[in-house]
Symmetry: C2
Subunit: 212 residues, 2 copies
DNA sequence: TTCTGTCCCATACAGTCTGTATGTTGTAGG
DNA sequence: CCTACAACATACAGACTGTATGGGACAGAA
């Protein structure tokens, strides 16, 4: 990584940032539409109106560029969710954690409808980066948010106390799969309804007091 | 596809089948250990002691070979589970559907621990084949079994009636993610225990009578 | 038997793509 | 002014995939 940009903003520094940003944008669009393997570096740089030299100056290799793109997608998703949640929490003025969790799941599901996010983060990510690198990125941006909400709900006694780490990952996988199911359904409307129902039902099933 | 082998078994036909099988075995091992992109066709054919000509005679391209390998993995998994379930159902002599479902989930989880299955079917499959082709394979071998058990449980009133297709896929994703979580945990023993607990708890949560 | 067509596979070739090495330009600093 | 380095552009080498071509074995027809 080419270090931090200088604290003072020169026009040259702006150009550098612009080049890097153009590469990220072009790569994101192409990776999301054609997939990682089917996207050549030449396609990316021509869309960004630079040459391959610029790409390999800013990124170690193609996979490194993909990692940067995926991080951007994951980060945006996390920020979108946080902003959405805090706004609703404020609007509904101290609504109880349980309701926030339930509605939060539904809005998480809707947010996952983003095709870029689905293709880049959910589909290609694990295969391109390998689970360790992929997990590190998701851990940073995605799981922390969900895990915090779940731990709070557990602390307040709204859901049964369960091991948080596996619970977080499994619920996350649940929502991811639901979003993919909706995306590839012919009747999106109906699929969204059904998946939402199942998801909510499973969450409700975790409420305190249910034992085998 | 080179049609069906002749009904009479000639020695030549055996050789053809052997060549094809050797390619499948070699590809499976390499795809599972190094991944699809990192495995060259030359690696595969040298491990199978043939040439690339044989590969491109039996399979349209590299992705077609991968699809055949993945189908084999999925098929084996399905057969393993079916055999396991029917044996247990017979042994426990008409045990009730609910218990069969719960124990079945746990054994499904254990079966998913197979590294070949994880890497080829769960990780690389969706990225290499695309969701339509991937889904077609899983639909055929995987979902039918799970969906049947779930529909029976629903019919008997053991679980709340929910849309079967999304429920099947989401539960399947749940188990898949759980198996991956276990596989990449340092303490496998503990992870297996925790994931099993969460999984069982979520299934129990689906029992009839719970509403939001 | 001989000849021919087809299946099965090996070899040779061309095109594409990735990563690196090298060259060039602009700019900051002494 | 001159040097050194950042930010690219260009040129090159290696690897890999898919296809075209060739050959050997076998089966059937003449």
């Amino acid at each position: 990584m080419p270090a931090q940009p200088k604290s003072v903003s020169s026009r040259r520094a702006d150009h550098v940032a612009d080049t890097r940003g153009a590469l990220l944008d072009a790569a994101r669009t192409l990776f999301a539409s054609r997939g990682y393997a089917a996207t050549g570096t030449e396609d990316i740089v021509s869309a960004a109106r630079v040459t391959r030299g610029a790409l390999y100056h800013h990124f170690r290799d193609k996979a490194d560029l993909f990692a940067a793109v995926m991080e951007q997608c994951a980060k945006e998703m996390a920020e979108r969710l946080i902003e959405q949640e805090t706004r609703r929490a404020a609007a509904e003025h101290q609504e109880d954690t349980w309701s926030l969790l339930r509605t939060g799941f539904q809005s998480f599901l809707d947010a996952c409808a983003d095709p870029d996010f689905q293709r880049i983060v959910l589909i290609e990510g694990p295969a391109v980066l390998g689970h360790s690198a992929w997990d590190a990125l998701v851990e940073q941006h995605g799981y922390v948010l969900l895990e915090e909400v779940l731990s709070q709900a557990a602390a307040e006694g709204r859901i049964d106390p369960l091991p948080l780490r596996p619970l977080t990952r499994m619920l996350s996988a649940l929502i991811s799969e639901a979003s993919l199911y909706i995306a590839r359904s012919r009747d999106q409307e109906r699929a969204r309804e059904e998946a939402g129902t199942v998801l909510d039902r499973m969450l409700v099933g975790l409420r305190r007091g249910e034992d085998g």
